[in-house]
Amino acid sequence: MRMCHWLVPACLLLAGVVQAATCPGESYAIRNARVLPVSGPALPRATVVLCQGIITAVSPDGPVPDGAEVIDGAGLTVFPGFLDAYSQYGLPPAQAGPPPARGVSGPPLRPLDAVAPNDPALYLTPHPVGNTPQRRAVDLLNPQSDLENVRAKGITSALVAPVGGVLQGEAALVNLRGPYPSSMVIQPDVALVAELRPQRGFGRYPSSVMGAVAVFRQDFLDAQQYEQAESIYQQASERGLPRPAYRSSVVSLLPALDGKQPVIFLAGDDNAILRSLRLAAEFKLRPIIAGGTQAWKVTPALHAAGAPVLVSLQFDPANKDELGTEELKKEQDENAANAARLAQAGIPFAFTSEGLKPKDHFLSRVRIAIAHGLSAEDALKALTLWPAQILAVDHQLGSIEPGKIGDLVLATGDPLAEGTQVRMLFIDGQPLPVHPESPKKDMKNKQKKTDEAGPPAGVNAVTLGATQ
């Protein structure tokens, strides 16, 4: 078993069927639970086996490995942990980057004799504030940040994206457990993140949306030039060519430019979405729209661009304070029906907490989307399998299948039903107790102590469903 890699199908078979009775490492078995694999039909009473962090078996009454800690799931429903497809969990607060050095917020235009005369670009290209495509979420992770309340919503993994600037950096897919930054990382650099908006602060470039578009365009032109120059340099049979100047901000764009990495555009209204799609087409990028409140208005363009949408659960319009009650309700209803309309139009989408404050309810907003026409089945997929597919990690996450990472939720009922309480989580196959979503419920202090340390001793055969 130790020799097996979970990516090798033969090993999966061995793990799941023949050798399920042994696990060389830490092992758990959840028995007698109702299991919603998401990738297939619900199993009314099944056993889920986790071995060394990986789901190794899902079956009505499969064998339990020797030495596994057994959890009696009677009365509980097990489903894949939710994947929040765009967030800042575990990242430091948004940073716009250092303020520009004095005098260079605009180009330091000087008389020609003070400037290197053969490099005109040097003094006519303004420096965009906060523009840091080379900033990587994996370098910023802080597992000590408040992840408990996120986990309490059933969210076990998330795309986390740096914020600030037009090209904001490289988003990473992480679990919300830790305990170390390195153990959080599932996939680094999953997507480049961009937002075509002005930077805060007077006199900061770009100060307009059209300036933001220009920043994006100039950066990708730079990347194209670098790639071309690098290729000429590598192929040159004769020596004597100048080597292309290395800039990490330019080099970090190459995976996106080459189509190996998608680009997430934060865009809410229809104009912003279309603007992002046009820019993606200009450089043949693979766009994903995040936020996308009005995505339902532009489904033909999304379809043509092959662009999935990471749908915000924030349904309030930006100008809600100006609207009368009737108009406000109309717009909230439209925004809440966004997901249902995308489903109807066949646009791939996933839910995100984008636009929500940390204390805002998450699942209750999913229920609002369901009330506005989305099927409960699609809603669950939009929290599990679909984000995994959109972010190309569905071989690791998104459903309860042998070989996938052991991110599970044990809850008292249907995942999206009102009143369902999360009793326990598994992240990376490790059990974590959970607070109820409402902070008024007790157990808070008790569980805080145990959270970092892992499961308390004697977790074997605890009947979690009994308190229902």
Binding site: P107, A121, P206, Q218, A229, I232, R275, E322, L323, E326
Partner: protein, 462 residues
């Protein structure tokens, strides 16, 4: 008239379920029958009909009849003029009209940020406007690139951009580029901080552009010799300026004071490019001969001056005096509001300086088309040109005249009778907005109008 009433009058809202002519199913074919036609190119024609085929003017004459199936607009007693072109507009822009942080911003592009839902598009159609020249603001000595937009209300951005229009770029002289970000920029004062600095910015920028052009020329020459040279770095700012040097990009220069206007002409002469239009040009009458010699158009206000230091020497006779000197004059709006009544603004050139009717007409049609490089296809009523018209119930220069229909590419985009029939009551409006939250309009007015359009497209048409 308060703003709420104004909005009710200008833009009626929401389908009431009746027949509706403003339909996407319009074919671009029509006959406008028996009108007084103000051609802007060859005088005024009484009792004249205009036949439109596929969005173009097919025939102009007395005895025209409509082919089978072609709709007829009975314009008996009405006046038809070319669709009005607003040569200086900042309507329909998303997210800021200036990229004012850097000293120059020709990398920025209005076409990237057009908002086709801006309700001002509809309001301006209601004032007979069919094309607007959407300009970057005047915060930079060299500003962003422009967009020439046909007001096809309800169409996506791509269909609104006028395909025949050459690219243009905004320049600005004087106080605006000097004062923008002069003290408040986070990184310190932005250059320039004095008006003389504007010339320095222009010359420094075009020196850089010449070097950049040479880099690329050398690169292409090496490629032509079969070598494998390293490509120079693309620079969006310098790309635009090289376009100006090569005469491919038209310059529209915000300017007021006569000595700065002459400075600009000297800079342009030194670097071998042309200025297409002076925007505002309130002192242009002082240097009319130089402008005529350089073939520069002046796009100005009718009688608006004294609003800042540079505008002190403005006079209401500017337009007429320049016209007498043979300079092409345009009356523009520079305002969402004034854009709805440009025909009245143009009439002031007759009132103040004795311009002829056709001269005044050209100030909002053919001369504006020339400034934008599109006078071969729009700006007058001539066979072969785009069927863009404003139809009035009286002479457009008569104060009480109203636009009854506005036609773009042979399709009706504003119909006053339809608009009146479908307006909401004030009580209905108040359901949409919190009292005191500002004036009616914005997204909600726009949405309601577009719902009406959508209803028309899905079969509500006649």
């Amino acid at each position: 008239m308060n703003r709420q009433t104004f909005c009710l009058l200008v833009a009626g809202v929401v389908a009431s379920g009746g027949a509706f002519r403003l339909s996407a199913q319009q074919t671009g074919n029509m006959l406008i029958r028996d009108a007084t036609v103000l051609t802007a190119s060859h005088g005024t024609l009484a009792h004249t009909s205009i036949l439109v085929k596929d969005g173009k003017i097919a025939a102009i004459g007395g005895g025209l009849t409509a082919p089978a199936g072609v709709p007829v607009i009975d314009a008996t007693g009405k006046f038809v003029m070319p669709g009005i072109i607003d040569e200086h507009s900042h309507s329909a822009i998303d997210g800021g009209i200036n990229e004012g942080a850097p000293a120059i911003s020709p990398m920025a592009h209005i076409k990237d940020v057009l908002n086709p839902h801006d309700v001002n598009i509809y309001r301006q159609l209601a004032g007979g406007v069919t094309i607007i020249h959407v300009l970057h603001g005047s915060a930079n000595a060299i500003g962003g690139q422009d967009a020439v937009v046909k007001l096809k209300w309800g169409a996506p951005v791509e269909e609104m951009l006028y395909p025949g229009a050459p690219q243009g770029v905004k320049f600005a002289l004087g106080e605006n580029p000097k004062q923008s970000h002069r003290f408040l920029s986070e990184g310190g004062a932005r250059y320039p901080a004095v008006r003389e600095g504007v010339e320095n910015v222009l010359r420094t920028s075009f020196n850089a552009a010449r070097l950049y052009e040479k880099q690329w020329d050398a690169y292409h020459a090496a490629l032509a010799r079969g070598e494998h040279p390293m490509p120079p770095q693309r620079n969006l700012n310098l790309d635009t300026l090289v376009g100006v040097l090569q005469g491919k990009i038209l310059v529209h220069a915000h300017s007021y004071v006569s000595d700065e206007i002459l400075m600009l002409l000297h800079v342009a002469d030194d670097y071998g490019f042309k200025i297409r239009t002076l925007e505002h040009g309130l002192e242009a009458y002082k240097v009319a001969d130089a402008l005529k010699a350089h073939d520069v158009a002046v796009s100005t206000f009718a009688d608006n001056w004294q609003y800042k230091l540079e505008a002190t020497d403005g006079i209401a006779y500017n337009a007429a005096l320049l016209t007498q000197k043979g300079v092409r004059v345009i009356i523009n709006s520079d305002s969402d509001e004034r854009a709805r009544r440009l025909y009245q603004e143009a009439a002031k050139a007759i009132h103040y300086g004795g311009a002829t009717e056709e001269q005044a007409l050209r100030m909002i049609t053919l001369n504006a088309a020339w400034a934008l490089g599109i006078d071969k296809t729009v700006g007058s009523i001539d066979v072969g040109k785009d069927a863009d018209f404003a139809i009035f119930n009286g002479h457009p220069f008569a104060p009480a005249a109203l636009v009854t229909e506005t036609i773009v590419d042979g399709k009706v985009y504003f119909d006053r009778a339809q608009d009146l029939a479908q307006r909401k009551t004030p009580a209905e409006y108040e359901k949409l907005f919190k009292p005191g939250s500002g004036f009616f309009g914005g997204d909600e007015e726009r949405d309601a109008l577009q719902q009406r359009l959508a209803a028309a497209q899905t079969g509500g048409n006649q």
